[in-house]
Amino acid sequence: MQRIFLKGIKGGTGCTAIVANLACVLKKSGVHVIAVDLDPKSDLGLHFGLPWKNTQGWSDAENFNDILTCFYQDSDGIIFLPHGEKTPSNTALNELIDNCNKLDNVQNAWVLFDCPSHIDISNYTLHKDDIVIELVNCDAVCHSLIYRRLQKLKKTENSWHHFFLVNRYNSSSELEFDLFSLWQSTLPLMAPFFINSDEVIKESTAYRNVALNCAPYSIANDDFETLAGWLVSKTAL
């Protein structure tokens, strides 16, 4: 079982959409994917076509057996777990993550966690093989936040693989181009690629679908494929 935690370095970096699209790419390339929403906003389901009225999720359940009834499957075959309405405690959160290990009924399933940006990554109990991807946008705030995070990461012992990935990159913006060039040449832990800014990611949620299904000829589609391929190569190490 491969666990991947995706988290925005701040709110609104487009993390949930990435989780949904990554799940879709992986599923399409034959990997069993389980997407788990750890964010109290509970909006991951919307990307998979879950109606907004449906608010039930794992946080509402009493025990893990109840949680098992909360899983959904979308038309592509992706299994996902919505968050629900309550705000769980830290222990409940970690309990769920641990319990997810039990879900490994199929060999080599991947579990993608959509983590909220306000909970620090150190609050989760992480293993050696886990991959944490922090999403950043190319702007000045993220620039500062990245340096802050890197300092923090340097201080603490962390055993997991940590990466930063640029989302919504628009190379025609001079600031974004310069910042990204700077990060690429100076920062460690940068993923060697980026997700292009694309209108279709916004539009696809309006279609209650993922970008991958809406615009197979977009570069965003390629970007997600690159991301998936890169992750596979990382897990193989």
């Binding site: 209108e199 000829y217 977009s218 570069i219």
Partner: protein, 890 residues
């Protein structure tokens, strides 16, 4: 019955009817009147014709059965008389002549179905036996090929090592005496094969045996077979030459002797070039790049020189920007524009992009002087040189510099000159990237062959030189107009090694008009002749024998002017002056000349097939022959005359035009060859019958010359060149972001310095003038360019880049021109030569040349030519034609 009232109404018609009814029955009267109305109203005959026509039909029906439907008659006329002019009525006289001629033709020639059947049977029988014969021949051929393959593969034990090395490095050679004995023995054998006079029959058997071996070698790959082919060619050609010298000079006829001696000298020249060419290309080295050390501290400093004189900034800009983006440590790469034009806008540009700008007070010694002067101001250990229109790829130094680091004696690494625009030959003949162009042979094969003998030529651009070596020989040689070749020669004399890497690492513009192209070749030819005189590679010290031979071959190549003209006129000696320039019986000529030529052509096609198609070399040479004749001769006698002329590039031909000035010599040659053939035909008819054989051979030769000259003439029709910047074919992925924020994956299909052609995977919705962001990647960086759609077609979009900032221009060059893989596939696009196909192409080109000639003829001549062509076409229209064959399946 006719009432009188009606008579009163249509007096004429009714009177007529009345008269008719006295003679014919009522039915016939109605028919006649009906026909009359039809002819008069529908066929627009005049009244008398229309009146007489029905009677004519009635009368002729007494003799001929007119039961066939009219449409069938019309059909059978159009089938059997396909060339009658329509409408038939408008050409009564000419059509009647055609009709008569065709009828005569049909009555005598038209085959009945029965006859055809027997004929088919006979022809079937014939083809069957031919097929059987062919099959037997194939079987024999196959066995022979297998046998040879077995023999040859036995001698090649190590498949990895080239056959050449397995011979050259054999242990036998270590013993001095064995070496000399073997060489002496081989020479002895060769001498015997070449000099022993054979009777005609023996020669025929000998040559057919050689041809047979050569033919069966055709299908065997590998170098050993090539070496065998070369040996055979050397033997046959030397034998031929020996025969020419000893037996074919007519000592009794001074005119024939003089002309024959001229031809013989030309043939000797050709033989020399052939043998040296074989030597030069026997084992092309095909050097591979050597990786650089990981530690970039060990990498040397490199100065990039971009010499320019009068080229516009738009040409120099991409080169400079691309030179700046060559992958090399920034502190070890210095780019300099060496401006002999001393233009302030160049200085500004250099300052803006941060490259050095060097000028000098005078302009002595042209390019060599310019670079020598620059060497006083720069201090890099190595100097890379790019002509200002050669855009380097980012990998240029990575590919080349390894050679220097591996061997400190290496002073020059040359890479091929690749041209992304069509050269005048390609453009005017419209065969760009279909037929290998003129300089493909040199950069694809000859340079690699030279490299084997450590005699790589320096070609003035796309090369790296070691500064230390240059300092040793006193800078770039400036005594000749080809400073490049001379510089390399000097460095080689000083004991330095040279290297060639056949990977295109830069690309530039080809010359844009035939006259400019010829001008450039004249300069090279003159320079070579100058070197020959001033610093003869045969003399002087420091060079090895192979190096001398390679240089001599290169120089001989540029002396091809006189021999080529001799070959183009030689057959006329016999036709016009009855001078036996090859004084031998017809059969002897046939047995010696034709097989030798076939053998040589086959060998050359095998060696050069990928880089030069058969017969095209002659076309290229013929175009240049006249023009390099004078400068080389002058330079041979007075090497210091003449000045450096700059090759002009990057221009436009606004109009399609014909360069009469350039093609004048060929027109004259063409005219005398044509006259010669006409004269030959007359002599065939009225002359001495004993001469028919020689005459036919001479006329065949003259005809061949005419084909070659026709192709040469075709080149002179300058095609229109519309684009200001050349489009370069490409195929790599990119992306676009539309104005509405959507992105699309695309492939770049072509690009130029201000535009890009892309292809989407699906039909797109872009419209002209839409603004589109083009996203291109270089390494892990993505660059975005604002573009406008200038044209769209189904899946294709043409984009123009407008007003890019300098930074963006640089990024654009990095993403396109200076991609490491931008020029890699240039040599792989061509399939191996097939001589027959190639000859057909030359023929086609030649025909086009002739039609061009008529089409572009000067205005006062135009009416005459039009009249003549019309006349020919008119006469042609009278010649009986084959009936149209129709498929009647019923």
């Amino acid at each position: 019955m006719i009432s009188f009232k009606a008579l009163h109404k249509h007096p004429f018609q009714n009177t007529f009817r009345l008269v008719l009814s006295l003679l014919f029955s009522e039915k016939l009267v109605r028919l006649i009147l009906f026909k009359f109305h039809g002819y008069f109203n529908q066929h627009r005959m005049n009244a008398i014709e229309a009146l007489l026509m029905p009677f004519l039909i009635i009368v002729s029906s007494l003799f001929v059965k007119i039961s066939v439907h009219k449409r069938n008659i019309r059909e059978s006329i159009s089938v059997n008389y396909p060339h009658l002019r329509q409408p038939y009525r408008n050409h009564p006289y000419s059509n009647s002549i055609r009709f008569i001629l065709q009828s005569v033709f049909l009555t005598f020639v038209k085959k009945t179905t029965k006859k055809r059947a027997t004929k088919e049977k006979i022809s079937h029988h014939f083809y069957d036996s031919v097929n059987r014969l062919f099959r037997q021949f194939r079987w024999f051929d196959l066995k022979l090929g297998k046998l040879l393959r077995r023999i040859l593969s036995k001698s090649k034990k190590k498949p990895k090592q080239s056959a050449f090395y397995s011979i050259a490095d054999a242990r036998v050679w270590q013993n001095k005496y064995v070496k000399y004995i073997v060489i002496a023995f081989i020479l002895f054998l060769l001498t015997i094969f070449i000099t022993i006079p054979f009777s005609l029959e023996a020669q025929a058997i000998f040559i057919s045996f050689i041809l047979l071996v050569a033919y069966s070698l055709k299908r065997i790959k590998g170098q050993m077979a090539t070496i065998v082919m070369i040996t055979l060619s050397v033997t046959t050609s030397s034998r031929y030459l020996w025969w020419r010298y000893t037996e074919t000079l007519n000592w009794d006829d001074p005119l024939a002797l003089a002309l024959g001696a001229g031809l013989l000298l030309a043939e000797t020249y050709a033989w020399l070039v052939l043998i040296l060419g074989f030597f030069q290309t026997i084992n092309p080295l095909e050097r591979k790049p050597i990786p650089l050390p990981r530690n970039t501290d060990l990498w040397p400093t490199v100065d990039v020189y971009i010499p320019t004189y009068n080229e516009p900034l738009s040409v120099v800009k991409p080169t400079t920007l691309a030179a700046l983006s060559i992958d090399w440590p920034e502190d070890k790469l210095n780019v300099y524009i060496l401006d002999d034009g001393k233009r302030p806008e160049f200085a500004d540009f250099a300052k803006e992009v941060g490259v050095g700008y060097l000028t000098r007070p005078d302009n002595n010694h042209a390019k060599a002087g310019n670079m020598n002067s620059a060497m006083r101001y720069t201090h890099g250990e190595y100097i890379a040189i790019f002509d200002c229109d050669h855009v380097p790829a980012r990998s240029f130094l990575q590919t080349t510099m390894g050679q220097f680091l591996k061997d400190s004696k290496v002073c020059l690494v040359q890479t091929p000159h690749h041209f992304f625009s069509a050269d005048p030959f390609e453009r005017n003949l419209n065969n760009h990237s279909q037929i290998p162009n003129e300089n493909m042979l040199f950069y694809g094969l000859i340079q690699d062959g030279n490299d084997m003998w450590d005699a790589t030529f320096f070609c003035g651009s796309c090369a790296v030189l070691k500064r230390e070596a240059l300092d040793n020989i006193g800078g770039f040689a400036f005594e000749t107009v080809t400073e490049d070749a001379h510089t390399a020669l000097r460095m080689q004399r000083a004991g330095y090694k040279t290297a060639y890497i056949n990977i295109p690492q830069a690309a530039g513009l080809a010359t844009d008009s035939l006259s400019a192209h010829i001008g450039q070749r004249i300069r090279w030819a003159r320079g070579m002749a100058q070197i020959f005189r001033l610093d003869n590679p045969l003399m002087g010290k420091g060079l090895s024998i192979p190096q001398r031979l390679c240089y001599i071959n290169a120089m001989l190549h540029f002396l091809s002017g006189i021999p080529r003209i001799v070959f183009l006129t030689a057959p006329l000696a016999l036709i016009y002056f009855n001078a036996y320039i090859i004084y031998a019986p017809f059969l002897a000529i046939f047995i010696y000349v034709v097989p030798t030529l076939i053998q040589i052509k086959a060998t050359n096609s095998r060696i050069q097939g990928k880089y030069r198609y058969s017969f095209w070399g002659e076309v290229y040479e013929s175009v240049l022959a006249w023009y390099i004749l004078k400068p080389t001769t002058v330079a041979l006698f007075n090497p210091n005359k003449g000045k450096f002329n700059v090759t002009e590039k990057g221009g436009l031909n606004d109009e399609e035009h014909y360069d009469w000035g350039i093609s004048k010599p060929y027109l004259i040659l063409l005219a005398i060859n044509l006259l010669g053939i006409v004269f030959g035909v007359l002599r065939l008819i009225f002359g001495d019958p004993s001469q028919i054989g020689v005459l036919v051979i001479s006329m065949g030769w003259a005809l061949y010359n005419m084909i070659i000259l026709g192709a040469a003439v075709a080149v002179a029709a300058e095609a229109r060149q519309v684009r200001h910047s050349h489009r370069i074919k490409a195929n790599f992925p990119a992306g676009i972001r539309l104005a509405n924020g959507h992105t699309l994956k695309v492939r770049i299909t072509d690009y130029s310095d201000n535009g890009v052609g892309i292809e989407t995977e699906h039909a797109h919705l872009c419209r002209v003038n839409d603004k589109i962001e083009l996203l291109m990647s270089r390494g892990d960086k993505q660059f975005s360019f604002t573009t406008h759609v200038c044209n769209t077609r189904n899946k294709q979009i043409g984009l123009t880049l407008k007003d890019l900032s300098l930074e963006k221009q640089r990024a654009f060059i990095q993403c396109t021109f200076s991609r490491a893989d931008a020029w890699l596939d240039w040599q792989n696009n061509f399939r191996h030569d097939r001589p027959s196909y190639s000859f057909k192409e030359v023929q086609k080109t030649s025909l086009r040349g002739f039609s061009n000639l008529l089409f572009h003829a000067p205005r006062p001549l135009q009416p005459t030519i039009k009249l003549l062509t019309r006349l020919v076409m008119y006469i042609n229209s009278f010649i009986p034609k084959k009936p149209i064959v129709q498929n009647n399946y019923d």
